[in-house]
């Protein structure tokens, strides 16, 4: 079936099997491999992207469900001026080590900061509950998200 999604500001179309996951559509059909896949139970959040501005786990959506939507992936975050403030904060706070969870974590954090005012350490921790990281113990991720809100 034909699926057409606006990805990082550009309309991208492909003929895909109906069962194709959005995560696989982004990675395999569009070559946007920054979105990682870390599980098969929607637990880890490595595949988090923005769908119409809100964070979504792209392994829980079919590509067909995103037909007509606007999707932002990690590749669409940095601008001509360099890293997005959230990416910059992750860098400055040493909020990544192996980097595998990082694209999803950053996208989830961008969405979290966009959706909520007055975030503090506890609410950031609650807000990122759906994104797992095995390297950092989260301390510097929380620090980075709070830094990005300043």
């Amino acid at each position: 079936m034909e699926v057409s999604v606006t990805v990082n500001g550009t309309v991208r179309s492909a003929d895909v099997e109906p069962r194709t996951l959005l995560a696989h559509f982004l990675r395999d059909d569009l070559g946007l491999t920054g979105t990682n896949i870390g599980c098969d139970t929607s637990s880890c959040g490595a595949c988090t992207v923005l769908v119409d501005g809100r964070s979504a786990k792209s392994c829980t959506l079919l590509a067909a469900q995103a037909d007509g939507a606007e999707v932002t992936t990690i590749e669409g975050l940095a601008g001509e001026d360099g890293l997005h403030p959230m990416q910059q904060a992750f860098h400055e706070c040493h909020a990544l080590q192996c980097g595998y969870c990082t694209p999803g974590m950053v996208m989830a954090a961008v969405s979290l900061v966009d959706e909520y005012d007055d975030l503090d350490g506890d609410s950031v921790r609650e807000g990122l509950e759906g994104n797992l990281c095995r390297c950092t113990g989260y301390q510097n991720i929380v620090k980075a998200v709070l830094a990005a809100t300043e």
């Binding site: 870390g38 098969d40 139970t41 929607s42 080590q97 192996c98 609650e126 095995r134 113990g137």
Partner: protein, 797 residues
Amino acid sequence: MTDTLDATSPFAGGIVGEARLRKEDPALLTGEAKFIDDLALPGSLWIACVRSPHAHARITSIDTSEALATEGVAAVYTGADLADAWAAPLPCAWPVTDDMKNPAHHPVAIDKANYAGDIVAVVVAESRYAAADGIEGVVVDYEPLDAVVDLADAESDRVVIHEDCGTNVSYDWALVPDPDAVDAAFADAVHHVTETYVHQRLIPAPMEPRGVAAVPSPHNGDMTLYSSTQIPHILKVMASLTLGLPEQKVRVIAPSVGGGFGCKLNVYAEEIICMALAGRHGVPVRWTETRTEAAGSTIQGRAQRQTIELAADADGRLTAVRATLLADMGAYLQLVTPGVPLLGAFLYHGLYDVPAYAFTCRSVFTNMTPTDAYRGAGRPEATYAIERAMDALAVAVGVGPDEIRSRNYIPTEKFPYDSPAGLIFDSGNYQPTLDRAKELVDWDGRRAEQADRRAAGSTKQLGVGISSYVEMCGLAPSRTLAALNYGAGGWESATVRILPTCKVQVVTGSTPHGQGHETCWSMIVADQLGVDPDDVEVLHSDTAISPLGMDTYGSRSLAVGGTALWMATEKVVDKARTIAAHMLEAAAEDLEFAGGVFSVKGSPDKEVPLAGVAFGAFTAHDLPDDVEPNLEAQVTFDPGNFVFPFGTHIAVVEVDEETGAVDLLDYAAVDDCGNQINPLIVQGQLHGGIVQGVAQALWEDAVYDADGQLRAANLADYLVPSAAECIDMKLDHTVTPSNSNPMGVKGIGEAGTIASTPAVMNAVVDALRPHGITDITMPASPMTVRRAIEVAGGGAS
């Protein structure tokens, strides 16, 4: 000088010791980094593995016809089909005893499956979706057999898993330097503490599952293996041997690797299968593990039962430690499976001055996923046993857990310390780490609060737990490994190459997967050469670019690989000095090198910058007669000793007696890894390591049922903690340099995991001690804690 470096450090006034941001980050933050599944390899075939659903079963027949008829499926192979594809079974590199039982472990089982997840057939297809469809069409008939999941049951040989071994016992291993001294100490002991502990199985769960892509060159015979591995160099040797391929034709590349924690320190069936099938089909063959599949395809960790006995005098001063292990190997021996208990064997007396020591270990096969190295590998288990037992001794003696430790720490003046297990601890100064950790958690205040809550009969009890640790890392002196029957050495290689434009290439044999090697290696070289760290490029993880290496595990990269790098840089500077002396018409010994400039002592106007020397070495127009062109040096460093980082961690928990819930309220860690190259990275390693150890204490459990089925096979059931369960940790450090290497550094990659599990469990038990509870089985889940309270008679069910 910063407080991350000792005054004796060879680094002064440079960037080493500073919290410098990582070079690795931009590619990882933007999606530019390429992990294994990101590689574009046109024309690839994908495999999917048919895995036994039974823990123990004979394979009576396999019908592949329906799979072969599935759209997109190119081929299906059974174990019998591939029996001639292997030159040898999957390797175990650590035959710890001469009579160790090591059953043949073929990448695809032929007659019998020995754990749920054992591969029994492989589907090859045009896409990953088609391969997944194909496995649905493979019909395997099994004759289920009784499964062995309990270690005592395994030891009894009620069911012998590997008939040709004749027993489930793989090996017995002992380290008892002076048995009479141990017996005498226990005979004379005033206090004799005996404790038993269980280390549950853990799933390492790096966020990136494993993946493989084997790319053949059918006409010239080359085979390139891309793998999400910690050990491309070891894998190259082992894959060549296992497949009978000429090693010079095999190249292994680890692309960006999304964490390992030991589970990517292996040679796996899927790597060998993809290489074999890439050879047969003449096109790239790939596989990417799914998370649920990983439960049966990637090694697990810990899985030991321990008995530890302490003998002590009337004051609680230890006179002997005796530890006995029963260790679960799982269904087969993977690369270093049998060696994991040995990595802890020397450390069951912890950081305490103990005159007599005994360690014995029996290892058994079970019908579960093979175990192998998981962050800390043997040392978390050892530290857990001694640190839990020290709390029991404190209770027996009637002193606090802080006091019992202070009485027993190896005195600072005894370093280098000849340990009762036969090691030489390089350096240590333990008491300050305890003192500082107590400050950080307000020890006295917490103790008072605990007393108040107990007096008030609160249902929310406070517990405070200490864990002091020392570990041996920086694996490893090759001669020591030989004495332990390990199949390889412990050296590491580095090459430093100053390019004609005075930019620098560093080649390291230590393969990073999140640790920040590129940043730290650049800092070291930049300080030594007086160049900008951004002008240093670190090359790694590809056996064609970095031909010599022993890779990354055992907190070895900096202490061994970093030392090789430091020495190679010194060697390059020496050569540059010879050339500079020639250029300046001075004697080499009269030259100073600082800030990237050679100058003649006493004649500061006579100088030449390194850039001038580098270009001169490149043009070779005017070199001394016995000097080769170019500035490059390679060093292979074999350490003379391990390094022994140490520290004290303290956890404060609140236990809800009504629900059994344990909340971590506070956590302090004071660690000493000698001179710190980059404290930002040290702290990051500690944060992640601590949480991984806390997770063993409180959440994670790869629990199997009686039939050998893993009940927590995915991230929905296996409780890797999220940010919501974790807290901000308080870190501090002391700096006691190692004398095992010229930089005075020690490893820090595993310290957090080693220290944190007993700190948390000591805190949980401390909270529950009024109930008479002396142990809680890990993980201390609400159900487990609540049940313990009920058994202790402390409340209605």
